[in-house]
Amino acid sequence: MTQSRSLTRWLAMGLIAGVAAVSAAPASAQATLDTVKKRGKILCGVSPVSPGFSYADDKGTRRGFDVDVCRAMSAAIFADPDKVEFVPLNTNVRFQAVQSGEVDVLSRQNTWSFSRDASLGLDFGPVVFYDGQGLMVPTKLNVKSASELADAAICLLPGTTTLQNLEDYFRPKNIKYEAVVFENSDEWRNAFFSGRCDAITSDRSDLASVRAIANNPSEYVVLPETISKEPLAPTVRQNDPNWRDILSWTVYTLIAAEEKGITQANVDEHLKSKDPEIQRMLGVNGDLGQMLGLDNKWGYNVIKSVGNYSELFERNLGPETRLGLSRGPNELWTKGGLLYSPPFR
């Protein structure tokens, strides 16, 4: 008898707890900056392995272009680029990870597109890399243009809009093709290298890294066509405009620093600069930092810690690296590229 009575009590308690849980209001969204400061580090979602953008070096330290964007944010907030915990994320879970608050910022070669911006509860920072989907073929096929690929088999990875772009490009040209989709990037590369597919398609920066992995990179050639626009932009949750501003202006600091000729090496000299905009950027004058809820020296800290845009590019992606990419559209607007920072005033 006592046993059944205690069982009844448990059930009743469970029921009350259930009702309480349903009626309890969910915790209100706290400002991301406060959460991050309290935690003492930023949680940054990155690619598990993507040469040039995010990879672990032989000592296990994460390096790469996307990684440096998060380190710049860390410098802006904590005056220290290493207060970041990197969370490797697959393409399938990356947006959910931002939405659910598992990461504070996603710096992971994400394409900024209308439907993602409008329907996923996400906000995108400035474009950090202008990419585009390309196609790569073995040199021996003697293909000169994507329009010659009628009836070819094309291998690709899911998790992006790659498949849709391919269809958008080939359908108006009435070109039929066979698309083979792989979940696993090793299987994908092997299928291409072994000739199961005549071509592979992905972002051009990604194709460059596949080519870099091949036994003999000169056996493969990236076709001239860029079949889609892939502006890669870091991503944050939509409900915190201040956090998004911090992201945006950290990226603009990198771009503006290159424009003004400020580098990691000479940033200290620029503290004495007569240029009022440089004075505001570096926190010598004005209170731009405070407007974001940051230290006034945040701009100085960013450049001192990671350098300007050009330094990020050359260190991770440029001609001296394994990827060997040229700046292309990722050049300052003053040099015919697309990089443009709004004014610091």
Partner: protein, 390 residues
């Protein structure tokens, strides 16, 4: 009845009342928990401005699926794309079940053979296949096909117009028209008729005791409908021959390496388990049944077919159901080697629309529904072969 038996406290001591109370509480808590989760999810999604609902199913999918069993174009809707994925899943699972059952039966019987070499080989087959994860075997079969066979431009022409390459097996194919479908349906009808005729004549023989040759009548019943349909419709037989194009073989029908690797991987792995189930079933039939059957003068093959297997089936069917179910669910590993099954199509859909919860809900429901269908069918079959207790 004493007065206090109606009071509140003693109602609590009423066993029947308690039993009902517990059930109401248990069901109530589960429903409340479900409601809580659902309302929480909807509220969070709305707060985060994430689109919800199933409206996207009627939008244009805009991506190709390389091999489909139903007509599908990229201009079709997401719903159609998901349907194509479901059909692909069912198609590869169904063939794997057939292949695995045949292999499993043969290997299971071989395992009990009195020939030591044969039983050793069957033993090795079973142990090699069931002790390594299926995913590794899928990678192995796929790698063997893709790296072991020549590229499509150097394809082997094993028979005239039959090509083998790392893009699969390509054979000449008939260009299928509606007339062919009708003739095929007529053939199926003929089959049904033939079975009916055969049964009828067997019953007649048992009733009258007179033996008559049945086969001409059966063959007649089988062939009449398709021949009639053929004569009426006069279909054209156009054959599409595979030819070497610039990149691929064009024309003909193709068995792709992705499908083949998945079929072989699923069927072999499941057949090892089925072989053990068959063995246990056969061993469950008592020795006396064999002896009695031999005493009646039946040969070993007939004993197996007429006496032992029907009894063994009662032990075999229930675990076999589980084998079929796990084979069906394992087909979702297809995505690793590029076969466009339901999971792959759902993934692409989720990535394009960003509506992951709906996508996952759809494919969980489909797997659940089809698994239950398989279970129900197998239970029905099980009750048919079960011991009839009179």
């Amino acid at each position: 009845m004493r007065a206090d038996s109606m009071s509140g406290t003693s109602l609590l001591y009423n066993l029947r009342f308690r039993a009902i109370l517990y059930q109401v509480l248990a069901v109530g808590s589960i429903v409340l928990l479900g409601l809580y989760l659902f309302s929480n999810v909807s509220q969070k999604l709305a707060e985060q401005n994430i689109a919800t609902g199933f409206d996207y199913l009627s939008r244009e999918a805009g991506f190709v699926i390389s091999q489909t069993m139903i007509d599908y174009k990229p201009t079709d809707t997401y719903a159609r794309a998901i349907l194509a994925g479901i059909v692909n899943t069912v198609w590869v699972s169904a063939w794997s079940v057939v292949l695995a059952s045949i292999l499993g039966l043969v290997v299971g019987i071989a395992r009990l053979s009195s020939n030591p070499l044969l039983s050793l080989l069957a033993f090795l087959y079973v142990e090699a296949l069931r002790n390594v994860p299926l995913l590794l075997y899928l990678f192995l079969w796929y790698a063997l096909i893709v790296t072991g066979l020549p590229a499509v431009r150097e394809a082997w022409e094993v028979l005239p117009h039959v090509f083998v390459s790392n893009s699969g097996l390509t054979v000449p194919s008939l260009i299928w028209t509606r007339a062919h479908t009708v003739i095929f349906a007529a053939l199926v009808l003929g089959g049904v008729l033939a079975v009916a005729v055969h049964r009828r004549m067997t019953a007649e023989r048992i009733r009258t005791g007179k033996a008559r040759t049945t086969w001409p009548w059966v063959a007649f019943a089988l062939l009449i409908p398709p021949v009639l349909a053929f004569l009426i419709l006069q279909p054209e037989f156009t054959v599409s021959l595979p030819e070497k194009g610039r990149f691929r073989l064009t024309g003909g029908s193709q068995l792709t390496p992705e499908f083949t690797a998945l079929l072989v991987g699923l069927a072999l792995s499941a057949s090892a388990g089925i072989a053990e189930i068959v063995r246990s079933g056969i061993l469950s039939v008592r020795k006396g049944q064999w002896e009695a059957s031999r005493a009646l003068g039946l040969r070993d093959g007939l004993t197996m077919r007429l006496v032992v297997l029907p009894q063994a089936l009662r032990v075999i069917i229930p675990p076999l159901t589980s084998s079929y179910l796990s084979l069906f669910k394992n087909s979702s590993l297809a995505i690793a080697i590029g076969y466009p099954d339901l999971v792959m199509v759902s993934n692409t859909t989720m990535n394009q629309t960003g509506q992951a919860i709906e996508g996952i809900a759809i494919f969980m429901l489909v797997y659940l529904g089809l698994s239950i269908a398989i279970s129900l069918f197998m239970n029905w079959y099980n009750s048919r072969v079960a011991l009839k207790e009179r």
